[in-house]
Assembly symmetry: D2
Homo-oligomer: 182 residues x 4
């Protein structure tokens, strides 16, 4: 099972990038997690698209098409998903009836320094995944709040309780991907 | 009264850019509408920000600071605001306690080809404006649905009923800006 | 396949009740739709619950437990789901770890007189179904806008295009219920 | 300044009822807070309304009309507002063009046992208040998370930090009500 994962932050020391590294390390047997870096993806522009997908976008779309499922680590800025996250979804939703993300089983998780732990951000991502018909696992959720206390200085997820919950999340996600793709 | 307006689409023939041109033409006496083109604004990246705002971003923030109010024409992609819209808000929300957009009276409107007329997109923008404490006019709303029937081929808003409603919207927005800034 | 359906309106001539009658008539072979009337369900009160579920609530929960899937016709009041809809979900979500609705494949649809066709209402219902882990079909959506033009005076759905879309919706829902329950 | 406050929970020992008692005690000079108990308000039904508002509803609407502002303590069930909260708003939004709540400056707050502190519930209430044109204060927010640690056994808000934040919230709300009503 191949999972394409991306974090909606471009910052090098992003908690959500760090969270995806933990995902890769903890992935259950048989799940292979590729982390895609969104750094090269430009802002969506239909005029640009009309000239043909930029190389970075073509690579992103291809990676999604080849994956069995998609995992999004969604930071929260201003009580919503980041522009970076939504922009990636906007590209992945094109072209309209043959979008790479359509039909892909999906999971959402996220980390934030505050107490609400990306709850509002995740709900927005979920709403967009619904609209592109990417069936999204509803349970369990994974919200890493007070992220500064959960990662060490090198960006390793060290919080025992979060690690355990992440393992549970990934087992459930593995079953979800199988169920939807069957 | 100076209003800074931007559309969350980069496409040249965007309905939402066209809608803002109609806003500029119909603005009531005393309201001056500047349309800011988001084309040069990069995706937000806290590492980039740490090196100092790029010139385009500095110009965007300055334009907001100098305005008495902000007007956002918010397209809808995938049942949400566009990455372009959210990215602009993410920049405008920085730095955290002295954000250019904080405290600015705001209005949201939008146009889309479909029937829901950016309803979901506008709600997401509103949620983010709330989080940065930009008091947002709640009534009237302006949702231009079936936009293809409302604009001519040159991007002029020609639908009589929409034009009237836009005038009403702008008069209400003018009062809102005054009330909040008093 | 047994489907438990309810409409979030108590009005006798509710468009959403009428929509469920059309659902019952158009259900594909093998799908049996029971329409549950929420009229007797009181407002949720944890003190009342502590004394034991009222008879109407016990009947509602039992009907959900016995069903293979749940279908919610969700009217929109004030840009959100109705109190009636949410109240039904609140009861169906109890007790916390053994809720009747948990795990049930679910579908949402809705009718409204306006143009946005319950889009915002359905998104709120979806958010609550996610929280109780009732996997919700994401595609196709069914939003009956301008409902007054789609039903006749006796509450029969007569709009050809909507009827066809509803049939397509129900076939997809049937597959969704099977997939999730497998 | 008269404020009409209500909590979207019917439970006697509700944290949100307790929060409103703290609001009443901490209200700044000149602000008089009346707490309205929603216990008698039936589920909204347009057929029932057509026969004339039930007495409890008439009293609720009158109390809102006589108030200078409205304050809603919004619990969170199933990642959304409660049916009780939404049902109260549904009644307060009627009749459509002369609704008691329309135009009233409003505030939202909430308490919950979990860590997200009613964030999602408050966003839904805000969306409905927008639709009825009740201008809603955006800042500061007040989310009492882990409510069990913040109230004593008799339902007194005892957490120092929350008490201070509530005082700040109420001063800001007082200014908001004045600004909107001016």
């Amino acid at each position: 099972m191949k999972i394409l994962a991306f974090a909606g932050s471009l910052r090098e020391k992003s908690f959500n990038k760090a969270l995806l590294r933990a995902v890769r390390d903890l992935a259950p047997d048989g799940m292979d997690v590729e982390i895609f870096d969104l750094a090269g993806i430009p802002l969506f522009n239909a005029d640009l698209e009309a000239e043909g997908d930029p190389e970075s976008v073509a690579g992103f779309k291809k990676a999604i098409r080849q994956a069995d499922g998609v995992l999004i680590a969604s930071p929260e800025y201003n009580h919503g998903m980041t522009g970076v996250t939504k922009n990636a979804i906007d590209w992945a939703s094109r072209p309209a009836r043959e979008a790479p993300i359509t039909g892909k089983p999906a999971g959402i998780l996220g980390a934030s320094p505050g107490v609400t732990g990306t709850a509002r951000s995740q709900d927005q991502v979920r709403q967009s995944l619904k609209s592109v018909n990417a069936p999204c696992m509803s349970h369990p959720e994974l919200l890493v709040f007070r992220a500064k206390e959960k990662f060490d200085e090198d960006g390793n997820l060290t919080d025992e309780s979060t690690l355990k919950h992440l393992e549970k999340y990934l087992r459930a996600f593995s079953e979800w991907v199988e169920k939807i793709n069957r």
